[in-house]
Symmetry: none
Subunit: 190 residues, 4 copies
DNA sequence: AATGAATGAGACTTCATTCAT
DNA sequence: TATGAATGAAGTCTCATTCAT
């Protein structure tokens, strides 16, 4: 019967937090976030009980936003390399297109402010990105350990690609292609 | 600023900062750093005019410390792959052996608290790490651009290796070998 | 070697807190206390880590101040009633002379902000006030229980006396005498 | 202010306030009171314009509730001591039976949040409790002043009795009897 | 009349930096 | 030079009260 809670404000706060954190780091004040979102300082705490709760929600939101991009253009029947390429492009494109989101997500990922289960989710998502060939047999690593390592390498090359492409947007296409080639060589058994 | 008296205190502050920042992040208080260094709160500011100045000095110091490890075991006449392996091991071993230094360096590198020329230095160092084969010719990238990209990929795989090895110390040897293989495949022209 | 911590400020804060709490209750802000003490807001927290710590220290300080008045005029050889009268007067006079201290002490005593051992101390002090005849035998109460009850009654009558005397200062002398008589009748066995 | 609709809600708020204040002190939030009362935050302010107004109403309500207990078992023809005993028991029993109400009333009584005329009322009620012998003639006090003092003493002993009985419920009967004896001795002329 | 979202003042506390000793 | 007491701005969060629904 009262004014309903505004989905708009909820979203505005998440977006504002994403921008402000990208620019100023996790130390960004709740006041600056509220201001950018266009709400009063106190209002932020009606939507998120605590700054940490807000940060967790931002992470969740960014993960979901990213996830949503991943299915685009994906075809289950295509050969492995092509499917991997689609995912690669989706991920890299997302990172380049949303630099604030990308930066904030990275800051949160290394911040020790997230619950373990949230990081799990993110790691699992990264695993999904890695449609890739059978894990190469590495001396001293089980198949699962090798898989995990390869996924991590895949992700780190993608991040490197995003980083450079953001700095030199003109070379985005070339970076994406070259990055994919390097990544593919890295994780293909020889 | 005249060079302050005690070289000991200068160093103690840098080390204390490294430890405290690794543990608590860049928000760590100057008071806690001074305390761990065994000096008074105010003394810190006689050695470093500002917290940001201290942070920059910490970064500089860590870069130098790392650099010092790089020449170990290096032989100019050995074949490329072997020389690269030596550097690889030096870097990865350093990261694993000095987790606080490694963590703090990474925090600083992404913190927007560093002057551009400092980051340059770090990037250049990473370039030096990369004793590696001739850059592969990538469509749309100049030789210098390809070089830079390959160096960045090399570094990112090394960091991934350090990260996993730190989490699972028992597999350090296997990670180092597998990581090197993947990296080498990635940056070798095919 | 640095400026020594000021005993003056420590005391000024305790006194300011006593005054402000007497006037505004335990909800009084630390800012108002610091202001009345003539120090910066932050300074308060150098002397007392927390508002609760300050409150506990205020209580302690008031108890000690009160204790200090109790030995005045006390003669161990005098008859019981006379010794009791001396204590009675000391206590009542103190309460009347320091209304803010008296009010603040009472507020703190009922505030659930004090550690149990602090209340113990206060209760023990009240017991000391009660130089009084042998406990009367009350049906269903052990000697210790009767003692405790009598002390409590003694204190409550003293407090009542202080309260009325503060409201009507002109009658202080009469209240003190009448209060003592009533108290004495109450706790003397019949 | 037009009389609000629901007598139920009015009462629920008064009761909720009594409970919450007993548990958390006068700093208890209006939100928590509204919640316990089962109404919305804003609704509270339709019944009580201000938090202070609510507090005053709570006090009033408790005084009335207490008053209602006083006539129980009272017989105008009985001897004085017996009539006094009836009142004594009524008061003490009420305090023990309604600890939240009793605690809240005391908190309010010392809070400086009440208008003088309200305290008057409370004091007058305490006077009514004191069916008691003729005031003793005390040096320097008029008959009215002595009366007032004796009433105050009577009340304070009753409160002491309630306090101890609440802490040690097993001794309630003994405390009540002993308390009455002490009180009676105190206020009987000798 | 009732609701609860929104507000912003103000509470407690931390901290980089200054400065008296 | 070294110290650590002092400062006050700024941060997170709470809450009485207002107001759109």
């Amino acid at each position: 019967m009262a004014r309903p809670r505004s989905e708009d404000k909820h979203l505005a706060l998440l977006r504002a937090a994403t921008e402000v954190i990208a620019a100023q780091g996790l130390g960004a004040s709740t006041a600056s976030i509220a201001k950018l979102a266009g709400v009063a300082e106190g209002t932020l705490f009606r939507y998120f009980a605590t700054k940490d709760v807000l940060l967790a929600a931002v992470f969740e939101h960014l993960i979901e936003a990213m996830e949503a991009c991943f299915t685009v253009g994906y075809e289950a029947n295509a050969p492995v390399k092509q499917r991997t390429l689609v995912m690669w492009n989706n991920y890299v494109d997302w990172g380049i297109a949303h630099p604030a989101a990308y930066a904030t997500m990275n800051q949160l990922a290394v911040s020790a402010k997230l619950a373990p289960e949230q990081l799990e989710k993110a790691i699992k998502l990264c695993g999904d990105v890695g449609i890739r060939p059978e894990p190469a047999p590495f001396e001293g690593l089980s198949s699962a350990e090798a898989s995990e390592f390869m996924d991590a390498v895949l992700t780190s090359i993608a991040n490197t690609t995003i980083g450079l492409a953001t700095v030199r947007p003109g070379l985005t296409g070339a970076y994406k292609a070259a990055g994919f080639e390097m990544m593919w060589q890295a994780i293909t058994p020889h």
